[in-house]
Amino acid sequence: MENQSLRLKLRVWRQASSQAKGAFEMYELAAVPVHASFLEMMDLLNEQLIREGKEPVAFDHDCREGICGMCSLYINGRAHGPQRGTTTCQLHMRHFQDGETITVEPFRAAAFPVLKDLAVNRSAFDRIQQAGGYVTVNTGNAPDGNAVPIPKTDADEAFMSAACIGCGACVAACKNASAMLFVSAKVSQYALLPQGQPEHRERVLSMVEAMDMEGFGHCTNTGACEAECPKGISVENIARLNRSYLAAQLSGGGTSAVATSD
């Protein structure tokens, strides 16, 4: 493996702006180290383009350690590429073949408009969370952290839901461009904790409403989201959201909390 490098052909989506029409461009890279990450490969491409006097490819990235959720990319027909449980920044070139042609596209969804090339606007996710993804508690207003014991299983499950990094791979991978996995993970985190109960019903209704307003598609339970999620968020969250949503609608009118948990 040491000192090996790959010769690659890249088919990259280029689009000047949200309004512009995009198209694929072909590029060749002569020597990509196998231990480089996919984004480092993109860096090499950009260095090459700059040297050739061409415009570098715009793509989103930041922490490069798989947690900020900024990187995206649809690589060879898969969100974040072919490795399971991996963000693009943690995808390494050793998983590609010498001479391979790699197709790189932006995450595609009406709710994620392309800003430029491979960078898309995911602020729809922010707006969904602004609609209710919080507990109403002012700073300084909190009881002791151990005042309410939380069963370990609930805390762990809430954590599993809270592990979502908001990258949007679920939307990108879903054939309907649905955001249900994202929204359900957020709702579930609060649904599983006592702190989330008082506002549970309103939260479910308003976050789902916000999701629909953003123009995401509907969930048809294909499970692609779970399979493509770099953090392995389970579709059980979606079932929980569905349950909560139905319960919240049925109990409509009242403002009392509807507790849902497994």
Binding site: E105, A173, N176, S178, T220, G223, N242
Partner: protein, 215 residues
């Protein structure tokens, strides 16, 4: 909506299958014809039947709306083709599967329901029966004697199987009835259902076609 209508249609399939299996009773069709008569003269069954048609139409209309939504949610598709699909084939192709099943339904209804209701159906009088009955069995047997007809039925049941394979567990998921504990159970029951029910349905044309060939 897909889940509620779907679940109703799944229930209907069970009832329908139990009735139809009487075609294989080996009594020259008497029990089937009696059953058929009962079904067409029961107010309750007739109401449920109307409801059933409504649900089929709703199921189809809603699916059309869903695909339009999906298209609107992703106006521009992907070009990259994955080496490995992450969602099951049936879940990705519910529309195609459903369309084939709809075609089948049209042929099916035209062939039997329409024939029995509005066509010229021969009558048969059983000993001890108060009145002559429509010989529905006769109609069915004649239809299944045609190889292409029986073949089309059997093939359609394969499509139905795939449709159910996704639809069954998906319905439970959408209604929020699935969780970590029950999911494996729902999956298993769904898979068994998706294999067993279409297989038994397909058994009828298969057996009757073979019977018509004299086996």
């Amino acid at each position: 909506m897909m889940a509620l209508t779907g679940l109703f249609l799944i229930l209907f399939l069970v009832v329908h299958l139990i009735g139809n299996l009487q075609l294989l009773a080996g009594d020259g069709g008497r029990r089937f014809n009696e059953y058929s008569h009962f079904m067409s003269h029961s107010l309750l069954i007739q109401t449920v039947s109307k409801l059933n048609f409504a649900f089929i139409i709703l199921h189809v209309l809603y699916s059309l709306w869903l695909s339009r939504q999906a298209h609107a949610a992703r106006p521009q598709g992907y070009e990259g083709k994955p080496a490995l699909q992450t969602a099951t084939w049936s879940s990705r192709n519910m529309g195609i599967l459903g369309t084939v099943i709809l075609l089948f339904l049209i042929v099916h209804l035209k062939g039997f329901w329409y024939e029995l209701k509005f066509g010229a159906v021969p009558s048969i009088t059983y000993a001890g029966a108060p009145e002559p009955l429509h010989n529905a069995y006769q109609v069915v047997r004649a239809a299944y004697a045609q190889a292409w007809y029986a073949g089309f039925y059997i093939l359609s049941m394969v499509f139905l199987g795939f449709h159910l394979h996704h639809g069954f567990q998906s319905a439970f998921h959408t209604l929020g009835l699935s969780n970590y504990r029950y999911k494996p159970l729902i999956r298993t029951v769904g898979t068994v259902f998706a294999i067993l029910v279409p297989m038994l349905f397909a058994l009828i044309p298969a057996v009757m076609h073979l019977q018509s060939l004299g086996y």
